[in-house]
């Protein structure tokens, strides 16, 4: 079983038609009990640095929290953006995520990776936001959304269809799909983040893919390589 690091840059991800992804594999190890169930191998450098910074933050260093923020903010921002699909709300939600992280840092027991813990907060924050927001985006707003620097101009229409289909997914399916497909988390990491069994992750992922393929499967042929 291979795991992918949450620090992997999606642009570096090389997807082959056989479904093998050439990724920088990283083990998902944490505590002694979890280490036995996870892959063996060294922790990513940034994950190690995060652990050190969390320790110093718990001793009262606010400057280290700033460094922790700089180290993790791009990934959290990307996740929040994909979970919400609303770039106007991203700043507020990222800020709320780090506020909750700062307040709850004392409750971080170190039984999982800091990234997993932070992702869990981000997912909770975005799901709360989705419950409170308007029930559906208007057509005009959906057309006006942007999809990031990775998007080709010719694929805007397809990305728009994808964004709408993603928006229609139930929150738990959407979070599972985004965490695994775009953030590169393994089944186990997704299960830890969402605090559910691995089997649930697998079934949610399968359902999310089925729904998305049902809606946009025919149009995927138009995607430019």
């Amino acid at each position: 079983m291979s795991h992918r690091s949450w620090f992997i840059d999606p642009t570096e991800r090389n997807i082959s038609s056989q479904g093998e992804s050439n990724l920088v594999m990283a083990p998902e190890t944490e505590t002694e009990t979890e280490r036995n169930a996870s892959d063996s191998g060294p922790l990513p450098e940034r994950e190690v640095r995060c652990a050190q910074l969390v320790d110093s933050c718990l001793k009262g260093s606010t400057a280290d929290f700033a460094e922790l923020f700089e180290l993790t903010e791009p990934v959290v921002r990307r996740l929040v953006g994909r979970l919400t699909g609303d770039r106007d709300a991203i700043d507020d939600l990222v800020q709320e995520t780090y506020l909750r992280a700062w307040r709850g840092l004392g409750q971080f027991r170190g039984t999982s990776r800091f990234s997993t813990w932070l992702f869990r907060i981000a997912v909770n924050v975005t799901q709360t936001w989705r419950k409170r927001r308007r029930p559906a985006l208007t057509l005009l707003e959906a057309d006006d959304r942007a999809y990031g620097r990775n998007a080709d101009v010719g694929d805007q229409a397809l990305l728009d269809v994808y964004a709408r289909a993603l928006d229609r997914l139930p929150p738990e399916l959407r979070a599972t799909f985004v965490l695994h497909e775009t953030e590169g988390l393994s089944y186990r990491a997704v299960a830890e983040t969402l605090q559910c069994p691995i089997g649930t992750v697998m079934s949610r992922l399968h359902r999310a893919r089925s729904r998305l393929l049902e809606e946009i499967g025919e149009q995927l042929e138009e995607l430019r390589p």
Partner: protein, 208 residues
């Protein structure tokens, strides 16, 4: 293809299979197609990245038409020109120029010229004003005569008519004058008494 088979293909696609798949999915066209769609879906999901952009409101200008922008630029340029034109005057310390809006009593050196398109009454008045003797009591009667046309008399015509009436009166009875404005008095010195009430021409204009 069964749901279990798809799930198995997806686990292989995700690299989450405990054991390598016994049969290669490439041998199965349907499985190969499903894998291809999974790969395309992942590619699309990776391209969807709203978080890589700054919020829309902070960097995008509101939509304005070029015409509106040009009009704003024209207004701004006019304001700048006016400001620059008056700036030296303000800096020099001179008192600002005053534009007189009240009519002066000083007679104009230039004779009045009738303009094309004026009403006939005004043309007659201008003609009278340009004559040196100004003995036109007929014109004064014409101007002051009641009727619908008197409602349309302008302030200038009214004053001019009073002057005409005064001139006509002078022609008949020497220095007798009609009051033009409130508070005006007959010329001092000996002279004939003013006429009976009703013989004075009064202005129908409001007092100033």
């Amino acid at each position: 293809m069964t749901d279990d088979r798809r799930l198995e293909i997806e686990r292989g696609f995700d690299g989450e299979l405990d054991e390598p798949e016994p049969a290669s999915p490439i041998d199965d066209p349907e499985a190969r197609r499903h894998l291809d769609r999974l790969a395309r879906l992942r590619e699309l999901a990776l391209r969807h990245d709203p978080g890589s952009l700054v919020p829309r409101r902070s960097f995008e200008l509101p939509r304005r038409s070029p015409r509106r922008i040009l009009s704003w630029l024209a207004v701004a340029a006019t304001a700048a020109v006016v400001t620059l034109a008056f700036l030296p005057e303000f800096r020099s310390g001179k008192p600002p120029r005053v534009v007189l809006t009240e009519p002066t009593t000083k007679p104009s050196a230039r004779p009045l010229e009738p303009t094309v398109g004026r009403p006939p009454l005004e043309v007659e008045l201008y003609g009278w004003a340009n004559t040196p003797s100004k003995p036109s009591g007929q014109v004064a009667k014409l101007v002051l005569s009641p009727g619908p046309s008197s409602k349309k008399r302008s302030a200038a015509n009214e004053i001019l008519a009073l002057e005409l009436a005064n001139a006509s009166r002078r022609d008949r009875s020497g220095v007798q004058r009609f009051a033009v404005a409130k508070g005006s008095k007959p010329a001092p010195g000996p002279g004939p008494k003013p006429g009976p009430p009703g013989s004075r021409a009064k202005s129908s204009l409001p007092d100033v």
